[in-house]
């Protein structure tokens, strides 16, 4: 049951990341990987809400669907690291460093905000 929820969430989350990335990069064609930053920050916020609101046992199904499945598949560490490496290889080391710092800081702030939003829902 829980594995099915993970599958359903991921079946939506992964295409949502792909389509968001394409839409964002089309609007902001730059070497900076805005698309991945956007999905990672949005996913960190949503997971913060889901985990803080669903800390009690009977919401395990919701956490599997929205957290492990959707947010897990919406966000990505592999594309983040690949895009960072590509920036370094193209001689854009400053942009690469900016991408790392912006992703981590914005992701952490988004997760903390999501946690604050979700806590009263517990």
């Amino acid at each position: 049951m829980t594995a099915l929820m993970v599958a359903l969430g991921a079946a939506v989350g992964a295409p949502a990341r792909y389509l968001t990335d394409r839409a964002v990069q089309r609007r902001h064609p730059s070497p900076f990987p805005w698309g991945t930053l956007v999905v990672n920050v949005v996913g960190s916020f949503v997971l913060g809400v889901v985990v803080s609101a669903g800390s009690r046992g009977h919401e395990a199904t919701v956490v599997a669907l929205l957290g492990t499945g959707f947010c897990g598949a919406l966000t990505t560490y592999s594309t983040f690291s690949w895009e960072t490496l590509r920036l370094v290889e193209r001689g854009e080391g400053g942009v690469a460093a900016l991408n790392v710092v912006a992703s981590v800081v914005a992701g952490l702030v988004a997760a903390a905000l999501g946690w604050a939003v979700g806590t009263p829902l517990r």
Binding site: A7, V12, P15, G43, C71, G72, Y77, S78, W82, V104
Partner: protein
């Protein structure tokens, strides 16, 4: 990526979206299996997520060099394996939320160690995957970039 007939308004074929979804499900289930095998409390170092993210970064380094510099695979290979499987396998949201939970659990040193070690492991892994593949596949496949 070339624009195919029957594209949606986003310039994307439905078959690409479908293989991204299928790959994402496989990757997420693999990540879920690892998390079940190595569960962690909010105050503990999230080894499973670190392992998943480092492994996914190593594999995307290998994959991207193969599909962009060495071979010309079917157009659905990269969306399925890269965007789908590895994108669904690795996660940034669990990384961010687990750091937050470690801080809330009063473990700032563990939070910092986890935040830094994941970053270092991910960047080293993607570099290692790409570099090793360029050397090995460059020698065997004989098709320079």
């Amino acid at each position: 990526m070339t624009v195919q007939a029957g594209d949606t308004s986003l310039g994307t074929s439905l078959d690409v979206v479908a293989v991204v979804a299928a790959g994402g499900v496989l990757g997420a289930e693999a990540r879920y299996a690892v998390s079940l095998a190595a569960p962690h409390a909010a105050s503990q170092f999230p080894w499973a997520t670190l392992l998943v993210n480092a492994l996914g970064c190593l594999l995307i380094g290998v994959l991207m060099v193969l599909v962009t510099e060495r071979f010309r695979p079917h157009r659905l290979v990269r969306p399925f394996l890269g965007v789908g499987v590895l994108g669904g396998f690795t996660t940034f949201s669990a990384y961010a939320v687990d750091i937050n939970r470690l801080l809330l659990a009063g473990r700032p040193a563990v939070a910092l160690a986890y935040a830094a070690s994941t970053l270092v492991a991910a960047v080293l892994a993607v570099w290692l995957g790409a570099t090793a593949t360029r050397r090995l596949a460059g020698a065997t496949a004989g098709r320079p970039a």
